[in-house]
């Protein structure tokens, strides 16, 4: 499980069932996907993980919602907000990934939040949806935000994840396409490969220590 699409939204949120998305993801070079609001599953080597998104306005609200969702899912996402919110969110336990950074203000994720994310092992999600679907100034701003995020990542080494946020199989992209799309804001192939394996590392971290041999 080293190449994971960090979030897809299957039927009924989208037009494709989770099983169909899993088939397509396997054909596109992924070995696991995280389904937001979906169910666990596996098809051979392919794994379907579950995720829940917390959309809150305050850190207190995040804490309250985390208690309800984190037991039932593999990964807990938080939609990013302003600077104070993001700083608080990365220090909240049981939150694994902050997403939708591209929708927030330019300075909403700064070096302090980056350092906290590194210490806590909280990942920041890069969504390919705005790069694929948006056009013009909106896409330019998203690319700028991702480039800024990448420079912080290179300095502070907090984990990154990459997601298609696909609501349909038509939104899913191959690993090679992901590399090329991420190259638009300066991400190298090696960085993309590492980011695609972040979900695996987060989940390994959650499991107890195993004695091998």
């Amino acid at each position: 499980m080293n190449t994971t699409d960090a979030s897809v939204c299957p039927y009924p949120a989208g037009d494709s069932s989770i099983r169909r998305m899993a088939i397509e993801a396997a054909e596109l070079g992924f070995d696991s996907i995280v389904a937001i609001g979906g169910e666990h599953g596996a098809a051979g080597e392919f794994r379907i993980l579950t995720g829940a998104v917390i959309d809150a306005r305050s850190a207190k609200d995040v804490l309250r919602q985390v208690r309800n969702v984190s037991r039932n899912v593999d990964l807990t996402f938080v939609n990013a907000g302003d600077l104070a919110f993001n700083r608080a969110a990365v220090t909240t336990g049981d939150v694994q990934i902050i997403r939708h950074i591209h929708t927030t203000h330019r300075n909403s994720f700064d070096h302090v939040a980056a350092r906290s994310a590194t210490e806590r092992g909280v990942a920041v999600d890069i969504s390919l949806y705005p790069i694929v679907h948006w056009r013009g100034a909106r896409r330019q701003k998203a690319l700028q935000r991702y480039a800024d995020l990448l420079s912080l990542h290179r300095r502070y080494r907090f984990p990154l994840t990459i997601s298609s946020n696909a609501r349909s199989i038509l939104d899913q992209r191959s690993v090679r396409d992901v590399e090329q799309l991420c190259a638009l804001f300066g991400m190298t192939r090696q960085e993309v490969r590492t980011a695609l394996g972040t979900v695996h590392r987060i989940l390994e971290h959650k499991q107890p220590v195993r004695v091998i041999g």
Partner: protein, 160 residues
């Protein structure tokens, strides 16, 4: 008019890509316009002009796009940002890049429906179901100007 000497002719690269969904019918011009729109939006007029993209084959879910040598990677990136053609949602998935069309034609394996189309009712809506290999089932809404398409599997169909 005498043809240019070989050393002065432009060097081309050809990109083979698949068009999804399988049942969408598009002609060369419609695909060309969507590719050009995506490339222009991503790289701008100047860079797209230098790429000289052209759709030279479009049939049974496959498309071959020609571009200048050296620009194939940029064009492939632009293809990943294509989301619609002729007001229908599509995706273009790059399969291979080559210097000859012949090599690409060998890699074309059209995905045809397994059986005859079947009519189904899901909730209050009527759909036509097309079954493909690997348990894929595409449901296309009937009696609608802009039909909704659902992408399911055989297992999902049993659960409905």
């Amino acid at each position: 008019m005498r043809p240019r000497p070989p050393a002065m002719r432009p060097k081309w690269r050809y990109i083979l890509a698949r068009i999804l969904p399988n049942n969408v019918e598009l002609d060369q011009k419609q695909v060309y316009l969507s590719v050009l729109d995506a490339a222009t939006s991503l790289w701008g007029d100047a860079a797209t002009g230098l790429m000289q993209p052209a759709v030279i084959h479009c049939d049974r879910g496959y498309v071959i796009i020609r571009c200048r040598r050296g620009s194939e990677r940029d064009l492939a990136t632009a293809l990943a940002t294509v989301t619609s053609a002729a007001d229908r949602p599509i995706a273009i998935r790059t399969i291979a890049t080559s210097g000859t069309i012949r090599t690409l034609r060998r890699q074309m394996r059209p995905e045809l429906p397994d059986e005859e189309a079947e009519e189904l009712r899901v909730g209050k809506k009527y759909f036509t179901a097309y079954r493909y290999s690997r348990q894929k089932v595409d449901l296309i809404e009937k009696h609608n100007k802009h039909p909704k398409v659902l992408f399911f599997t055989e297992t999902d169909m049993e659960e409905i």
